[in-house]
Point group: D2
């Protein structure tokens, strides 16, 4: 059994990790920490876990994190970087669901995240945990930077096009829509039901933190600097991201075949039949990314539709997928739930 | 492996049965029928099942239902009663998710359902499949009448009070609220998003078909005719029923202890700590009923709060639970998913 | 023109007052205060008011409240009672949308609201502003206590029954459901979209602050102490309250005629035809209360369905209605908007 | 008073016309027709109109449409073209909220709408009723083709850029999101609450009927054939359209100033301050289009955000605006409601 610790378990990625790990046949949950809620039974905060998770939130200073095989950070940005080195030095592997190790250029990171990085030397070692791009590196990683939610949906959608070199990579557009759980379980006015329900808006058009992360990934695929316009929107869903991606074709190609071939051996990426419109609910609660690729009216613009559950493939599910890879388990172990529809 | 057939698989209880049965370790899905959609792959209608259910909808006349061990009817009222005898005669056990066999008094049934019953003699044989009341009878049943959604939530909430004889059974009130999936996957104006969203209303106050079903159950518990006012409401949830139950205390009693004792060995009924307010989402996608019992300001009115997922414990999950009991499997087999929150 | 000030304009009752008053032909908005947001244009916080309300939030100490004809308090409980005397002494009339002056028994008030009352002597003078009960007193009031949202829906529903003496007033039940805007525009986790959406729950079953307010009103109607069980629920609407009221008939009576007669001259109470189920959206954005009265299966339990928009008839609209009465305007002036459907 | 008739009043644009016209000071509602519901009081179907609209649905053959000054068609596509000539010949002016007269090229129209046009000769006469482009022509029009919802939001967003000649008009992108009321009040499975709630999807990517309408408008602005990729999405709102528009800058220009200048005299187009993110709810129930213009990270891509209420500025409100213009009334008469927030 893999001994698992979770740092920061009171948010949505935390409770989702618990839901997935409590059903994972090879995992033993050792500790879940929360400075603020130390002592409270986890199932008191999250009644869906009653009878299934009997842990209490532990104070971080007292939790047996160093005796775990792997520790997940489900914390705000800037926490994992404070504690990772000590864990790695104790032989504990680390999967950070926040952004501390996602951006390779520390200057870029510090600009977008507005703080000094505590351990720039670990950034290089960290493996960006998008298994469909980096599976081999994840296997041996000590430190995995779990991708952001928008970056997962956008990169998986663009990947076949850019790898195949069939689109203009300088003018890519990602028009993305996220459910409100993406804003986290923080008490903020803009995420109140009476604000976010029956309402739709863009945000962060001037520049969102996932912009440099996506650009970094697209540039790596392209082998040169990619140009991207990224507009995130808030939509009244609890869970789900829908990325609508636009790229100009530079070569004629069978798009459907290209996507199907690229992902034929990927368990969690489902290329839908030509003409499909994937729905966010078709992946609700599950670790899938479903993708459809279109050319409208035979024009030169490719439109890719890519959907994930932001809390699963966009966060906690992908983290468990990475753990499975790191510990040489079946990649889908504990992640076989069928999406909930309706 | 238990060979399973489903008649009428295009509604919400149908797709929910598929979700649960496809993950059940002892079930082999043999057939799912739909007259209208015969030939269509199930996963084309329900994309959440892509890669997990490879069946096509079969025409009822061609499906190998007689070679199944058990057949579920996820059909409108009035269908199962046409086909049950033939299946039973072929040695197939039947679980009807509709109402054909729920009411013992055929006259009452015919009045409320507005049709003649096709096989009144089978009504007596049918076992009302609320395991918490009728587990022993379910074990040997050939024909199980799976309870309605409101009746499940209401009966489980009233059961400890009535069995213990501590309330006035002549003036019970069940104020129940249901998500919109309870109306089924039928194209009807009142269930449109633009009608049902951001809206709340009662319906069927003059008399709803679940009224006689609940009264029958409460009367059986009481050993005499129970009196009930039942008001159903439509609330903008996809899934979930919340029953708020009112009864006047006739004896002083430790209500919390009464409920905990009654349900201590029930896997799927969770009596929450005193003072709790169960949320519908705490059982979303799972087969639990969570219950809390209150006395407001130490008055003589007991208030019971009872929540279920109408498609799981209120329909398909309870049907699988009944199947498990009938085939002497672990009662919770295939029903161990943790509720989805948020 | 009536010169109007608003204290505490950053919540939902504040913005709703602004929406209504900005369209009122006899009102001149003089000031709206917010300690925290002083200096910010109101329309920056509430973009629906762009081009229609050009005020900035003013610091309370600098706002010309004493030069107003009437001041509305759209503040948390406990604020109005600090400032009312000074305003009254300056000849300004006051309408408090919070609870400071609703409960006549100061001991009861202090118990439920957990603070000492700052001006108990003003409580007696204050008029409880439910026009359908107290219109004559409102006309001459200097200080109006605007009713709570649940109390408005519940009292208007019970009123004809209790006044006519046809029900058992010792065992009344009010099962009430509220949209999430009723929780206010405060950053609290339980009111987040990802918590409150697709979820239904009861709360405050042990005792909610509106319980003593409703009981006080019902007891006044009855001329003796009324007994009430009151269970509020949170439902995923932005706006709307649905009260489902239960009372036992003690006399046979034509309920429909009773209600129609009681409210025949009330502009804002709409008794719907027999058999109706009023929807919350049928009053969305408007000052109406729509009511239907039922007897299920000819039993002895009366069921009353009563719906309001909690921010209009349940708060700001009723406050404007009271203002109209106090200033001898047409009672419906500025309140003639047709409800928004869908 | 202008005598008004409505053909086809049982859909959402119909009830919205009634809401607006019943509050219009210069309108006398003469008739509203519905073949199917003839004889039913309008307020029975739409209880928000109780006490405000006392008409019954009339059979089309019996309604006094020819005695009206103007008739609105709130019908499915293909109806208005059957009846328009007769009305025009009787001196009645016509505003068609459907698509019968929007596309000037009858071949294009017939291809996209799948039927033969009944009166191609009237197409040329028809004025496309986007007042911000065609106000002068609307004034004298006998027949107005009221624009589609997506086309309104998209054209108003692109207009200043294209008129000023500062973007590449061959590669425009309109990523649009609509609330579910846009699908109409038809009983269809995909628009059920349990299908459309907590779900997000694109649709019609292969080609939506609003594509040729928008392209026609953009080409007129550009003076040459425009190229457009248009992807509509369904989002769980009742009302609202959010258009996110992408265009490549070909000249450096002060975008904010460009937009403010273009719309400075337009009552219903609100250019928000630089950096804004208009929300759909900021126009809910009102006839405004709010627009913000962005350049992300100083790149060469302009991003325009444009929101409307699809039932108001996207349908019935714009129709009333056109009526006001045609009858030389104040353009905003009857359209001054403040948007409903929250």
């Amino acid at each position: 059994m893999i001994k698992v610790g979770i740092v920061g378990g009171t948010g949505y990625t935390g409770v989702e990790l618990l839901r997935l790990l409590a059903q994972h046949p090879k995992v033993e949950l050792k500790a879940i920490t929360s400075r603020k809620e130390a002592g409270m039974p986890v199932s008191e905060m999250f009644p869906n876990l009653r009878g299934r998770v009997n842990l209490k939130f532990a104070d971080p200073s007292e939790a047996p994190l160093k005796h775990c095989d792997v520790v997940f950070f489900a914390t705000p940005n800037g926490i994992a970087m404070q504690q990772t080195r000590e864990l790695l030095d104790s032989g504990v592997r680390v999967i950070d669901l926040a952004a501390d190790f996602r951006i390779k250029d520390v200057g870029v990171w510090e600009k977008w995240y507005g703080m000094e990085h505590a351990c720039p030397d670990l950034i290089e070692e960290a493996v960006y945990g998008l298994p469909e791009m980096n599976r081999e590196k994840v296997k041996t990683a000590r430190l995995v930077a779990n991708p952001g939610c928008y970056p997962t949906a956008a990169q998986l959608g663009f990947l076949p096009l850019i790898e195949a070199g069939v689109v203009d990579v300088e003018h890519l557009i990602a028009d993305c829509k996220s459910g409100v759980s993406g804003a986290g379980r923080k008490a903020e006015v803009h995420a109140l039901f009476a604000e976010a329900s029956d309402n739709f808006k863009a945000y962060g058009v001037a520049g969102h933190r996932h912009l440099p992360e996506i650009k970094q990934g697209l540039s790596l695929m392209a082998g040169k600097q990619a140009g991207l316009t990224f507009v995130p929107h808030l939509t009244p869903l609890i869970r789900g991201i829908h990325a609508t991606l636009y790229a100009r074709l530079t070569k004629d190609v069978d798009l459907q075949a290209l996507f199907e071939k690229r992902y034929e051996s990927e368990h969690f990426v489902d290329v839908m039949p030509a003409g499909s419109h994937p729905e966010t609910r078709s992946v609700r609660s599950a670790n899938f990314c479903r993708i459809a690729v279109h050319r409208q009216q035979e024009g030169d613009m490719v439109v890719v539709l890519s959907v994930i559950d932001n809390l699963v493939k966009g966060a906690s599910g992908q983290a468990v997928q990475n753990m499975n890879i790191m510990f040489r388990l079946d990649e889908a172990m504990g992640l076989e739930q069928i999406p909930l529809l309706p």
